[in-house]
Protein backbone atom coordinates (compact mmCIF):
# COMPACT_ATOMS: atom_id res chain seq x y z
CA UNK A 1 0.00 0.00 0.00
CA UNK A 2 1.27 3.47 -0.77
CA UNK A 3 1.10 6.33 1.73
CA UNK A 4 -2.23 7.59 0.37
CA UNK A 5 -3.81 4.14 0.69
CA UNK A 6 -2.41 3.76 4.20
CA UNK A 7 -3.92 7.11 5.17
CA UNK A 8 -7.29 6.00 3.77
CA UNK A 9 -7.09 2.77 5.76
CA UNK A 10 -6.15 4.64 8.95
CA UNK A 11 -8.94 7.21 8.62
CA UNK A 12 -11.43 4.43 7.87
CA UNK A 13 -10.73 2.79 11.24
CA UNK A 14 -10.66 6.14 13.04
CA UNK A 15 -13.96 7.34 11.59
CA UNK A 16 -15.54 3.96 12.27
CA UNK A 17 -14.39 4.09 15.89
CA UNK A 18 -15.57 7.66 16.42
CA UNK A 19 -18.96 6.87 14.87
CA UNK A 20 -19.20 3.81 17.10
CA UNK A 21 -18.90 5.69 20.39
CA UNK A 22 -20.86 8.74 19.25
CA UNK A 23 -23.70 6.54 17.96
CA UNK A 24 -24.11 5.13 21.48
CA UNK A 25 -23.39 8.45 23.26
CA UNK A 26 -25.93 7.67 25.96
CA UNK A 27 -23.74 4.74 26.99
CA UNK A 28 -20.35 6.32 26.34
CA UNK A 29 -20.50 10.07 26.96
CA UNK A 30 -23.36 10.67 29.40
CA UNK A 31 -22.54 8.20 32.26
CA UNK A 32 -19.03 9.54 32.99
CA UNK A 33 -20.37 13.10 32.90
CA UNK A 34 -23.08 12.25 35.44
CA UNK A 35 -20.67 10.28 37.64
CA UNK A 36 -18.13 13.09 37.65
CA UNK A 37 -20.82 15.68 38.37
CA UNK A 38 -21.76 13.62 41.44
CA UNK A 39 -18.11 13.57 42.52
CA UNK A 40 -18.06 17.36 42.25
CA UNK A 41 -21.25 17.72 44.27
CA UNK A 42 -20.36 15.25 47.02
CA UNK A 43 -16.56 15.40 47.31
CA UNK A 44 -16.13 18.90 46.01
CA UNK A 45 -18.99 20.92 47.45
CA UNK A 46 -20.37 18.97 50.41
CA UNK A 47 -17.31 17.19 51.86
CA UNK A 48 -14.67 19.37 50.20
CA UNK A 49 -15.90 22.51 51.95
CA UNK A 50 -15.12 20.80 55.28
CA UNK A 51 -11.63 19.74 54.20
CA UNK A 52 -10.15 23.13 53.43
CA UNK A 53 -7.18 23.83 51.15
CA UNK A 54 -4.94 21.15 49.67
CA UNK A 55 -1.61 21.95 48.05
CA UNK A 56 -2.48 25.65 48.21
CA UNK A 57 -5.79 25.23 46.35
CA UNK A 58 -9.38 24.72 47.41
CA UNK A 59 -10.22 21.03 47.59
CA UNK A 60 -12.62 21.17 44.66
CA UNK A 61 -9.98 22.87 42.49
CA UNK A 62 -7.44 20.28 43.63
CA UNK A 63 -9.53 17.26 42.66
CA UNK A 64 -10.79 18.69 39.34
CA UNK A 65 -7.70 17.74 37.25
CA UNK A 66 -7.68 14.28 38.81
CA UNK A 67 -11.35 13.69 38.08
CA UNK A 68 -10.91 14.78 34.47
CA UNK A 69 -7.85 12.54 34.11
CA UNK A 70 -9.68 9.61 35.74
CA UNK A 71 -12.43 9.96 33.14
CA UNK A 72 -9.94 10.16 30.29
CA UNK A 73 -8.11 7.04 31.52
CA UNK A 74 -11.19 4.88 31.98
CA UNK A 75 -12.83 5.95 28.72
CA UNK A 76 -9.74 5.55 26.53
CA UNK A 77 -9.24 2.10 27.97
CA UNK A 78 -12.91 1.14 27.73
CA UNK A 79 -13.22 2.25 24.12
CA UNK A 80 -10.39 0.14 22.78
CA UNK A 81 -10.97 -2.91 24.97
CA UNK A 82 -14.67 -3.09 24.09
CA UNK A 83 -14.28 -2.24 20.40
CA UNK A 84 -11.35 -4.56 19.73
CA UNK A 85 -12.79 -7.42 21.75
CA UNK A 86 -16.19 -6.84 20.11
CA UNK A 87 -14.51 -7.16 16.71
CA UNK A 88 -12.85 -10.38 17.85
CA UNK A 89 -16.09 -11.73 19.28
CA UNK A 90 -18.16 -10.98 16.17
CA UNK A 91 -15.30 -12.03 13.92
CA UNK A 92 -15.16 -8.79 11.95
CA UNK A 93 -11.54 -8.24 13.00
CA UNK A 94 -10.98 -10.58 10.02
CA UNK A 95 -12.07 -7.73 7.73
CA UNK A 96 -8.85 -5.98 8.68
CA UNK A 97 -6.66 -9.05 8.95
CA UNK A 98 -7.36 -10.21 5.39
CA UNK A 99 -6.62 -6.76 3.98
CA UNK A 100 -3.12 -5.63 2.97
CA UNK A 101 -3.21 -2.97 5.69
CA UNK A 102 -0.06 -3.18 7.87
CA UNK A 103 -0.58 -4.05 11.54
CA UNK A 104 0.77 -0.70 12.71
CA UNK A 105 -2.13 1.01 10.95
CA UNK A 106 -4.64 -1.27 12.68
CA UNK A 107 -2.95 -0.37 15.95
CA UNK A 108 -2.89 3.36 15.16
CA UNK A 109 -6.56 3.32 14.12
CA UNK A 110 -7.82 1.67 17.30
CA UNK A 111 -5.57 3.77 19.54
CA UNK A 112 -6.70 6.97 17.84
CA UNK A 113 -10.30 5.91 18.41
CA UNK A 114 -9.57 5.42 22.11
CA UNK A 115 -7.83 8.79 22.29
CA UNK A 116 -10.76 10.45 20.53
CA UNK A 117 -13.22 9.09 23.09
CA UNK A 118 -10.90 9.96 25.98
CA UNK A 119 -10.61 13.53 24.75
CA UNK A 120 -14.33 13.83 23.96
CA UNK A 121 -15.42 12.63 27.38
CA UNK A 122 -12.61 14.59 29.05
CA UNK A 123 -13.84 17.75 27.35
CA UNK A 124 -17.43 17.08 28.42
CA UNK A 125 -16.34 16.55 32.01
CA UNK A 126 -14.19 19.68 31.87
CA UNK A 127 -17.21 21.72 30.80
CA UNK A 128 -19.22 20.27 33.71
CA UNK A 129 -16.40 21.08 36.12
CA UNK A 130 -16.71 24.75 35.20
CA UNK A 131 -20.07 24.72 37.00
CA UNK A 132 -18.35 23.79 40.26
CA UNK A 133 -14.82 25.19 40.20
CA UNK A 134 -12.90 28.20 38.90
CA UNK A 135 -10.79 26.30 36.44
CA UNK A 136 -7.97 28.24 34.80
CA UNK A 137 -5.30 26.45 32.85
CA UNK A 138 -1.75 27.48 33.78
CA UNK A 139 0.17 25.58 31.10
CA UNK A 140 -1.98 24.80 28.08
CA UNK A 141 0.68 22.83 26.16
CA UNK A 142 1.51 20.62 29.15
CA UNK A 143 -2.18 20.09 29.91
CA UNK A 144 -2.95 19.02 26.36
CA UNK A 145 0.12 16.82 25.82
CA UNK A 146 -0.29 15.04 29.15
CA UNK A 147 -3.93 14.20 28.45
CA UNK A 148 -3.10 13.15 24.89
CA UNK A 149 -0.23 10.90 25.97
CA UNK A 150 -2.19 9.43 28.87
CA UNK A 151 -5.16 8.54 26.69
CA UNK A 152 -2.72 6.97 24.20
CA UNK A 153 -1.15 4.90 26.96
CA UNK A 154 -4.44 3.58 28.29
CA UNK A 155 -5.76 2.92 24.81
CA UNK A 156 -2.73 0.69 24.29
CA UNK A 157 -3.40 -1.02 27.61
CA UNK A 158 -7.02 -1.60 26.54
CA UNK A 159 -5.89 -3.16 23.28
CA UNK A 160 -3.54 -5.58 25.08
CA UNK A 161 -6.38 -6.56 27.40
CA UNK A 162 -8.66 -7.15 24.41
CA UNK A 163 -6.05 -9.25 22.59
CA UNK A 164 -5.79 -11.65 25.53
CA UNK A 165 -9.49 -11.57 26.47
CA UNK A 166 -11.43 -14.74 25.77
CA UNK A 167 -14.76 -13.65 27.22
CA UNK A 168 -16.58 -10.47 28.13
CA UNK A 169 -15.64 -11.17 31.78
CA UNK A 170 -12.00 -10.79 30.82
CA UNK A 171 -12.51 -7.23 29.62
CA UNK A 172 -14.07 -6.14 32.92
CA UNK A 173 -11.61 -7.81 35.28
CA UNK A 174 -8.67 -5.49 34.58
CA UNK A 175 -10.66 -2.24 34.78
CA UNK A 176 -12.34 -3.38 38.00
CA UNK A 177 -9.42 -4.93 39.84
CA UNK A 178 -6.43 -3.02 38.43
CA UNK A 179 -7.40 0.22 36.73
CA UNK A 180 -9.87 1.53 39.31
CA UNK A 181 -7.63 0.94 42.35
CA UNK A 182 -4.62 2.45 40.56
CA UNK A 183 -6.66 5.50 39.61
CA UNK A 184 -8.20 6.04 43.04
CA UNK A 185 -4.79 5.59 44.68
CA UNK A 186 -3.10 7.75 42.03
CA UNK A 187 -3.53 11.06 43.81
CA UNK A 188 -6.88 12.03 42.35
CA UNK A 189 -8.40 12.89 45.74
CA UNK A 190 -5.29 13.65 47.83
CA UNK A 191 -1.71 14.80 47.68
CA UNK A 192 0.83 12.09 48.43
CA UNK A 193 2.52 14.62 50.70
CA UNK A 194 -0.25 13.70 53.18
CA UNK A 195 0.99 10.10 53.31
CA UNK A 196 3.69 8.56 55.49
CA UNK A 197 7.12 8.20 53.81
CA UNK A 198 6.52 4.46 53.34
CA UNK A 199 3.21 4.96 51.53
CA UNK A 200 4.67 7.87 49.58
CA UNK A 201 7.35 5.54 48.25
CA UNK A 202 4.82 2.82 47.48
CA UNK A 203 2.64 5.39 45.70
CA UNK A 204 5.56 6.27 43.43
CA UNK A 205 5.23 2.79 41.88
CA UNK A 206 1.78 3.73 40.61
CA UNK A 207 2.09 5.11 37.06
CA UNK A 208 -1.28 6.86 37.29
CA UNK A 209 0.20 9.15 39.93
CA UNK A 210 2.55 10.67 37.34
CA UNK A 211 -0.28 11.32 34.91
CA UNK A 212 -2.62 12.88 37.45
CA UNK A 213 0.15 15.08 38.81
CA UNK A 214 1.38 16.04 35.36
CA UNK A 215 -2.14 17.06 34.40
CA UNK A 216 -2.62 18.89 37.71
CA UNK A 217 0.58 20.78 37.04
CA UNK A 218 -0.73 21.82 33.63
CA UNK A 219 -3.97 23.16 35.11
CA UNK A 220 -3.06 24.38 38.60
CA UNK A 221 0.69 24.81 38.24
CA UNK A 222 1.13 22.55 41.30
CA UNK A 223 2.33 18.94 41.44
CA UNK A 224 3.80 16.37 43.83
CA UNK A 225 6.61 15.71 41.35
CA UNK A 226 8.63 17.07 38.44
CA UNK A 227 6.68 17.50 35.20
CA UNK A 228 9.63 15.97 33.33
CA UNK A 229 9.39 12.87 35.46
CA UNK A 230 5.71 12.66 34.53
CA UNK A 231 6.55 12.97 30.82
CA UNK A 232 9.35 10.42 31.19
CA UNK A 233 7.20 7.79 32.90
CA UNK A 234 4.29 8.21 30.47
CA UNK A 235 6.56 8.06 27.41
CA UNK A 236 8.39 5.00 28.74
CA UNK A 237 5.09 3.16 29.22
CA UNK A 238 3.82 4.23 25.80
CA UNK A 239 6.95 2.90 24.10
CA UNK A 240 6.81 -0.34 26.06
CA UNK A 241 3.08 -1.01 25.54
CA UNK A 242 3.22 0.24 21.94
CA UNK A 243 6.01 -2.17 21.08
CA UNK A 244 4.24 -5.01 22.88
CA UNK A 245 0.89 -4.30 21.17
CA UNK A 246 2.50 -4.33 17.75
CA UNK A 247 4.34 -7.53 18.62
CA UNK A 248 1.01 -9.16 19.58
CA UNK A 249 -0.62 -8.08 16.31
CA UNK A 250 2.36 -9.21 14.23
CA UNK A 251 2.36 -12.61 15.92
CA UNK A 252 -1.41 -12.81 15.62
CA UNK A 253 -1.78 -13.69 19.29
CA UNK A 254 -5.44 -13.87 20.22
CA UNK A 255 -6.58 -13.02 16.71
CA UNK A 256 -5.09 -15.67 14.43
CA UNK A 257 -5.24 -19.42 15.05
Amino acid sequence: MNAQQQWTAYTTILVKEVLRFTRIWVQTIVPPVITTALYFVIFGNLIGSQIGDMGGHSYIDFITPGLIMMTVITNSYANVVSSFYGSKFQGNIAEMLVSPMPNWIILAGFISGGVARGLAVGLAVTLVSLLFSDLSVQHIFITFTIVLLTSTLFSLAGLINAVYAKSFDDITIVPTFVLTPLTYLGGVFYSIAMLSPLWQNISLLNPVLYMVNGFRYGILGASDMSIWLSYGVIMAFILLLGWFSLHLLNKGIGIRS
Partner: protein
Protein backbone atom coordinates in the same frame (compact mmCIF):
# COMPACT_ATOMS: atom_id res chain seq x y z
CA UNK B 1 -0.45 -20.45 -17.46
CA UNK B 2 -0.39 -18.17 -14.40
CA UNK B 3 -0.91 -19.89 -11.08
CA UNK B 4 -3.48 -18.14 -8.91
CA UNK B 5 -2.83 -20.11 -5.77
CA UNK B 6 0.29 -22.18 -5.22
CA UNK B 7 0.52 -24.16 -1.99
CA UNK B 8 3.57 -26.28 -1.26
CA UNK B 9 4.10 -28.56 1.73
CA UNK B 10 1.52 -26.75 3.82
CA UNK B 11 1.38 -27.97 7.39
CA UNK B 12 -0.62 -26.79 10.35
CA UNK B 13 -0.52 -28.05 13.91
CA UNK B 14 -2.70 -26.15 16.36
CA UNK B 15 -1.67 -25.26 19.90
CA UNK B 16 -3.57 -28.23 21.31
CA UNK B 17 -1.41 -30.60 19.25
CA UNK B 18 -4.01 -31.35 16.60
CA UNK B 19 -2.46 -31.58 13.14
CA UNK B 20 -4.99 -30.16 10.69
CA UNK B 21 -2.76 -30.21 7.60
CA UNK B 22 -0.06 -32.79 6.96
CA UNK B 23 1.80 -31.25 4.04
CA UNK B 24 -0.56 -30.23 1.27
CA UNK B 25 0.54 -29.37 -2.27
CA UNK B 26 -2.11 -27.62 -4.34
CA UNK B 27 -2.11 -25.47 -7.47
CA UNK B 28 -5.06 -23.56 -8.80
CA UNK B 29 -4.65 -21.95 -12.19
CA UNK B 30 -5.78 -18.46 -13.10
CA UNK B 31 -9.38 -18.44 -14.32
CA UNK B 32 -10.23 -21.77 -12.73
CA UNK B 33 -13.40 -22.54 -10.83
CA UNK B 34 -12.00 -24.96 -8.28
CA UNK B 35 -13.86 -27.07 -5.72
CA UNK B 36 -12.13 -27.91 -2.46
CA UNK B 37 -14.08 -30.67 -0.81
CA UNK B 38 -13.75 -32.58 2.41
CA UNK B 39 -15.70 -33.70 5.43
CA UNK B 40 -16.04 -31.47 8.49
CA UNK B 41 -12.63 -31.12 10.11
CA UNK B 42 -10.78 -32.40 7.04
CA UNK B 43 -8.66 -29.25 6.74
CA UNK B 44 -10.46 -27.15 4.12
CA UNK B 45 -11.09 -24.12 6.29
CA UNK B 46 -7.58 -24.28 7.71
CA UNK B 47 -6.16 -24.23 4.18
CA UNK B 48 -8.36 -21.29 3.27
CA UNK B 49 -7.57 -19.57 6.56
CA UNK B 50 -3.83 -19.79 5.89
CA UNK B 51 -4.20 -18.55 2.30
CA UNK B 52 -6.20 -15.56 3.52
CA UNK B 53 -3.86 -14.81 6.46
CA UNK B 54 -6.36 -15.64 9.20
CA UNK B 55 -4.46 -18.73 10.34
CA UNK B 56 -0.71 -18.99 10.96
CA UNK B 57 0.89 -21.91 9.16
CA UNK B 58 3.33 -24.29 10.81
CA UNK B 59 5.33 -25.00 7.65
CA UNK B 60 5.10 -24.70 3.90
CA UNK B 61 4.82 -22.01 1.27
CA UNK B 62 1.85 -20.12 -0.11
CA UNK B 63 1.94 -17.84 -3.15
CA UNK B 64 -0.94 -15.89 -4.63
CA UNK B 65 -0.47 -14.86 -8.25
CA UNK B 66 3.26 -15.24 -7.69
CA UNK B 67 3.38 -13.12 -4.53
CA UNK B 68 4.83 -15.00 -1.58
CA UNK B 69 2.59 -14.70 1.47
CA UNK B 70 5.62 -14.53 3.77
CA UNK B 71 7.82 -12.05 1.92
CA UNK B 72 5.31 -10.10 -0.23
CA UNK B 73 2.43 -10.14 2.19
CA UNK B 74 0.70 -6.90 1.17
CA UNK B 75 0.74 -7.69 -2.55
CA UNK B 76 -0.41 -11.26 -1.91
CA UNK B 77 -3.28 -10.19 0.35
CA UNK B 78 -4.45 -7.56 -2.15
CA UNK B 79 -5.18 -10.35 -4.68
CA UNK B 80 -7.58 -12.30 -2.45
CA UNK B 81 -11.21 -11.88 -1.54
CA UNK B 82 -12.61 -14.12 1.19
CA UNK B 83 -16.15 -15.18 1.94
CA UNK B 84 -15.87 -16.99 5.27
CA UNK B 85 -18.13 -19.75 6.51
CA UNK B 86 -19.54 -17.82 9.48
CA UNK B 87 -21.22 -14.42 9.33
CA UNK B 88 -18.50 -12.13 10.58
CA UNK B 89 -19.58 -8.57 9.88
CA UNK B 90 -20.62 -6.04 12.49
CA UNK B 91 -24.34 -6.68 12.69
CA UNK B 92 -25.01 -3.14 13.94
CA UNK B 93 -23.43 -1.44 10.94
CA UNK B 94 -25.49 -0.43 7.90
CA UNK B 95 -24.96 -2.73 4.93
CA UNK B 96 -23.32 -0.10 2.71
CA UNK B 97 -20.97 0.97 5.53
CA UNK B 98 -19.68 -2.58 5.84
CA UNK B 99 -18.65 -2.50 2.19
CA UNK B 100 -17.27 1.04 2.23
CA UNK B 101 -15.21 0.32 5.36
CA UNK B 102 -13.87 -2.87 3.82
CA UNK B 103 -12.84 -0.83 0.79
CA UNK B 104 -11.13 1.63 3.11
CA UNK B 105 -9.01 -1.15 4.62
CA UNK B 106 -7.71 -1.78 1.09
CA UNK B 107 -6.95 1.92 0.65
CA UNK B 108 -9.93 2.67 -1.61
CA UNK B 109 -11.16 6.25 -1.07
CA UNK B 110 -14.64 6.51 0.40
CA UNK B 111 -16.34 7.96 -2.70
CA UNK B 112 -14.93 5.27 -4.95
CA UNK B 113 -15.74 2.54 -2.43
CA UNK B 114 -19.31 3.80 -2.21
CA UNK B 115 -19.69 3.71 -6.01
CA UNK B 116 -18.35 0.14 -6.10
CA UNK B 117 -20.62 -0.84 -3.20
CA UNK B 118 -23.66 0.46 -5.06
CA UNK B 119 -22.81 -1.65 -8.13
CA UNK B 120 -22.22 -4.80 -6.08
CA UNK B 121 -25.29 -4.38 -3.89
CA UNK B 122 -27.44 -3.88 -6.96
CA UNK B 123 -25.96 -6.94 -8.66
CA UNK B 124 -26.66 -9.02 -5.57
CA UNK B 125 -30.14 -7.63 -4.96
CA UNK B 126 -29.27 -5.84 -1.74
CA UNK B 127 -29.35 -2.17 -2.75
CA UNK B 128 -32.76 -1.59 -1.14
CA UNK B 129 -31.24 -2.74 2.15
CA UNK B 130 -28.12 -0.57 1.81
CA UNK B 131 -28.99 1.71 4.75
CA UNK B 132 -30.38 -1.03 7.00
CA UNK B 133 -28.37 -2.54 9.82
CA UNK B 134 -26.90 -5.89 8.79
CA UNK B 135 -28.68 -7.68 11.64
CA UNK B 136 -32.03 -7.06 9.94
CA UNK B 137 -31.06 -9.08 6.84
CA UNK B 138 -32.30 -12.61 6.20
CA UNK B 139 -29.81 -15.51 6.12
CA UNK B 140 -29.61 -15.47 2.32
CA UNK B 141 -29.07 -11.71 2.28
CA UNK B 142 -26.29 -12.01 4.83
CA UNK B 143 -24.54 -14.56 2.61
CA UNK B 144 -24.83 -12.21 -0.36
CA UNK B 145 -23.57 -9.32 1.75
CA UNK B 146 -20.42 -11.32 2.52
CA UNK B 147 -19.91 -11.97 -1.18
CA UNK B 148 -20.34 -8.26 -1.96
CA UNK B 149 -17.89 -7.35 0.81
CA UNK B 150 -15.28 -9.76 -0.51
CA UNK B 151 -15.44 -8.18 -3.97
CA UNK B 152 -15.18 -4.51 -3.04
CA UNK B 153 -11.44 -4.42 -3.85
CA UNK B 154 -11.94 -6.41 -7.08
CA UNK B 155 -9.80 -9.41 -6.13
CA UNK B 156 -8.32 -11.70 -8.77
CA UNK B 157 -8.85 -14.74 -6.55
CA UNK B 158 -12.11 -15.24 -4.67
CA UNK B 159 -12.29 -17.91 -1.98
CA UNK B 160 -15.72 -18.96 -0.79
CA UNK B 161 -16.05 -21.19 2.26
CA UNK B 162 -19.49 -22.80 2.06
CA UNK B 163 -21.15 -19.68 0.66
CA UNK B 164 -24.60 -21.20 0.19
CA UNK B 165 -24.97 -22.97 3.55
CA UNK B 166 -28.51 -22.51 4.79
CA UNK B 167 -29.64 -20.66 1.67
CA UNK B 168 -32.85 -21.65 -0.09
CA UNK B 169 -32.59 -23.20 -3.53
CA UNK B 170 -33.82 -20.12 -5.43
CA UNK B 171 -31.24 -17.80 -3.90
CA UNK B 172 -28.59 -20.52 -4.16
CA UNK B 173 -29.13 -20.78 -7.89
CA UNK B 174 -29.05 -17.00 -8.32
CA UNK B 175 -25.75 -16.99 -6.42
CA UNK B 176 -24.46 -19.71 -8.75
CA UNK B 177 -25.30 -17.54 -11.73
CA UNK B 178 -23.53 -14.58 -10.16
CA UNK B 179 -20.42 -16.68 -9.46
CA UNK B 180 -20.44 -18.18 -12.97
CA UNK B 181 -20.50 -14.69 -14.47
CA UNK B 182 -17.76 -13.52 -12.13
CA UNK B 183 -15.61 -16.46 -13.18
CA UNK B 184 -16.38 -15.88 -16.84
CA UNK B 185 -15.24 -12.27 -16.38
CA UNK B 186 -11.85 -13.53 -15.21
CA UNK B 187 -11.98 -14.00 -11.45
CA UNK B 188 -10.44 -17.25 -10.25
CA UNK B 189 -12.75 -18.92 -7.75
CA UNK B 190 -12.09 -21.53 -5.09
CA UNK B 191 -15.19 -22.96 -3.49
CA UNK B 192 -15.73 -25.25 -0.56
CA UNK B 193 -19.18 -26.68 -0.11
CA UNK B 194 -21.08 -29.55 1.40
CA UNK B 195 -23.53 -29.45 -1.50
CA UNK B 196 -21.68 -31.70 -3.92
CA UNK B 197 -24.25 -30.91 -6.58
CA UNK B 198 -23.04 -27.33 -6.30
CA UNK B 199 -19.42 -28.32 -6.87
CA UNK B 200 -20.38 -30.57 -9.78
CA UNK B 201 -22.45 -27.86 -11.36
CA UNK B 202 -19.98 -24.98 -10.98
CA UNK B 203 -16.43 -26.27 -10.84
CA UNK B 204 -14.01 -27.45 -13.52
CA UNK B 205 -11.37 -28.85 -11.19
CA UNK B 206 -11.53 -30.45 -7.81
CA UNK B 207 -9.38 -31.19 -4.80
CA UNK B 208 -10.47 -33.46 -1.99
CA UNK B 209 -8.94 -33.13 1.47
CA UNK B 210 -9.28 -35.86 4.03
CA UNK B 211 -7.76 -35.71 7.50
CA UNK B 212 -5.20 -33.11 6.50
CA UNK B 213 -4.11 -34.73 3.24
CA UNK B 214 -5.01 -33.92 -0.34
CA UNK B 215 -6.27 -37.29 -1.58
CA UNK B 216 -7.50 -36.13 -4.98
CA UNK B 217 -6.65 -33.26 -7.31
CA UNK B 218 -8.02 -33.60 -10.81
CA UNK B 219 -10.59 -32.26 -13.25
CA UNK B 220 -14.24 -32.74 -12.45
CA UNK B 221 -14.74 -34.54 -15.76
CA UNK B 222 -11.97 -37.06 -15.12
CA UNK B 223 -13.24 -37.71 -11.63
CA UNK B 224 -16.81 -38.32 -12.73
CA UNK B 225 -15.63 -40.62 -15.53
CA UNK B 226 -14.37 -42.98 -12.86
CA UNK B 227 -17.90 -43.85 -11.90
CA UNK B 228 -18.67 -47.30 -13.31
CA UNK B 229 -22.30 -47.40 -12.23
CA UNK B 230 -25.35 -45.22 -12.67
CA UNK B 231 -28.29 -45.01 -10.24
CA UNK B 232 -31.79 -43.86 -11.03
CA UNK B 233 -35.18 -43.83 -9.37
CA UNK B 234 -38.19 -44.66 -11.57
CA UNK B 235 -41.77 -43.66 -10.79
CA UNK B 236 -44.05 -46.37 -12.15
CA UNK B 237 -47.39 -45.90 -13.89
CA UNK B 238 -49.03 -48.62 -11.79
CA UNK B 239 -48.09 -50.49 -8.59
CA UNK B 240 -46.11 -53.75 -8.77
CA UNK B 241 -45.64 -56.44 -6.12
CA UNK B 242 -42.39 -58.00 -7.25
CA UNK B 243 -39.78 -57.05 -9.78
CA UNK B 244 -38.14 -59.15 -12.49
CA UNK B 245 -34.68 -60.44 -11.67
CA UNK B 246 -31.68 -59.37 -13.73
CA UNK B 247 -27.95 -60.06 -13.54
CA UNK B 248 -25.55 -58.50 -11.02
CA UNK B 249 -24.80 -55.84 -13.63
CA UNK B 250 -28.28 -54.37 -13.31
CA UNK B 251 -30.14 -54.46 -10.05
CA UNK B 252 -33.67 -53.36 -9.14
CA UNK B 253 -34.91 -52.49 -5.65
CA UNK B 254 -38.56 -51.80 -4.91
CA UNK B 255 -38.76 -48.79 -2.59
CA UNK B 256 -42.57 -48.80 -2.57
CA UNK B 257 -45.14 -50.28 -4.99
CA UNK B 258 -44.72 -47.41 -7.47
CA UNK B 259 -41.05 -46.51 -6.95
CA UNK B 260 -38.09 -48.53 -8.17
CA UNK B 261 -34.41 -47.90 -7.72
CA UNK B 262 -32.11 -49.18 -10.44
CA UNK B 263 -28.33 -49.50 -10.37
CA UNK B 264 -26.50 -50.67 -13.51
CA UNK B 265 -22.93 -50.89 -14.77
CA UNK B 266 -22.29 -48.36 -17.50
CA UNK B 267 -20.08 -50.71 -19.53
CA UNK B 268 -22.65 -53.46 -19.80
CA UNK B 269 -25.97 -51.70 -19.59
CA UNK B 270 -27.64 -48.54 -20.87
CA UNK B 271 -30.89 -46.85 -20.01
CA UNK B 272 -32.33 -48.12 -23.28
CA UNK B 273 -31.59 -51.72 -22.25
CA UNK B 274 -33.11 -51.15 -18.81
CA UNK B 275 -36.28 -49.68 -20.29
CA UNK B 276 -36.54 -52.50 -22.83
CA UNK B 277 -36.19 -55.05 -20.05
CA UNK B 278 -38.91 -53.43 -17.94
CA UNK B 279 -41.14 -53.06 -20.99
CA UNK B 280 -40.85 -56.79 -21.68
CA UNK B 281 -42.15 -57.44 -18.17
CA UNK B 282 -45.06 -54.99 -18.49
CA UNK B 283 -43.59 -52.37 -16.17
CA UNK B 284 -44.33 -48.82 -17.40
CA UNK B 285 -42.12 -45.95 -16.20
CA UNK B 286 -43.76 -42.54 -15.86
CA UNK B 287 -40.75 -40.48 -14.85
CA UNK B 288 -37.19 -40.86 -13.58
CA UNK B 289 -34.49 -38.97 -11.66
CA UNK B 290 -30.89 -39.48 -10.53
CA UNK B 291 -30.92 -41.38 -7.27
CA UNK B 292 -28.02 -39.52 -5.69
CA UNK B 293 -25.55 -36.95 -6.73
CA UNK B 294 -22.82 -38.70 -8.72
CA UNK B 295 -20.03 -36.77 -7.08
CA UNK B 296 -21.33 -37.68 -3.66
CA UNK B 297 -20.79 -41.35 -4.40
CA UNK B 298 -17.26 -40.78 -5.62
CA UNK B 299 -16.47 -38.57 -2.68
CA UNK B 300 -17.61 -41.21 -0.22
CA UNK B 301 -15.60 -43.89 -2.03
CA UNK B 302 -12.42 -41.81 -1.99
CA UNK B 303 -12.72 -40.92 1.67
CA UNK B 304 -13.52 -44.54 2.53
CA UNK B 305 -10.49 -45.80 0.58
CA UNK B 306 -8.25 -43.30 2.37
CA UNK B 307 -9.12 -44.94 5.67
CA UNK B 308 -7.44 -48.20 4.61
Amino acid sequence: MTIALDIQGLQKTYGNGFTALKGIDLRVEQGDFFALLGANGAGKSTTIGIASSLVNKTAGKVSIFGYDLDTQREQAKAQIGLVPQEFNFNIFEPVVEILVNQGGYYGIPRAEAFARAEVLLKQLGLWEKARDQARTLSGGMKRRLMIARSLIHQPRLLILDEPTAGVDIEIRRSMWEFLRKLNADGTTIILTTHYLEEAESLCRNIGIIDRGELIENTSMKQLLNRLDTESYVFDLASPVDILPTTSNLCHFTLQDPTTVEVVFHKEHYSLNKVFAFLNEHGVIVNSMRNKTNRLEQLFMDLVENNKH
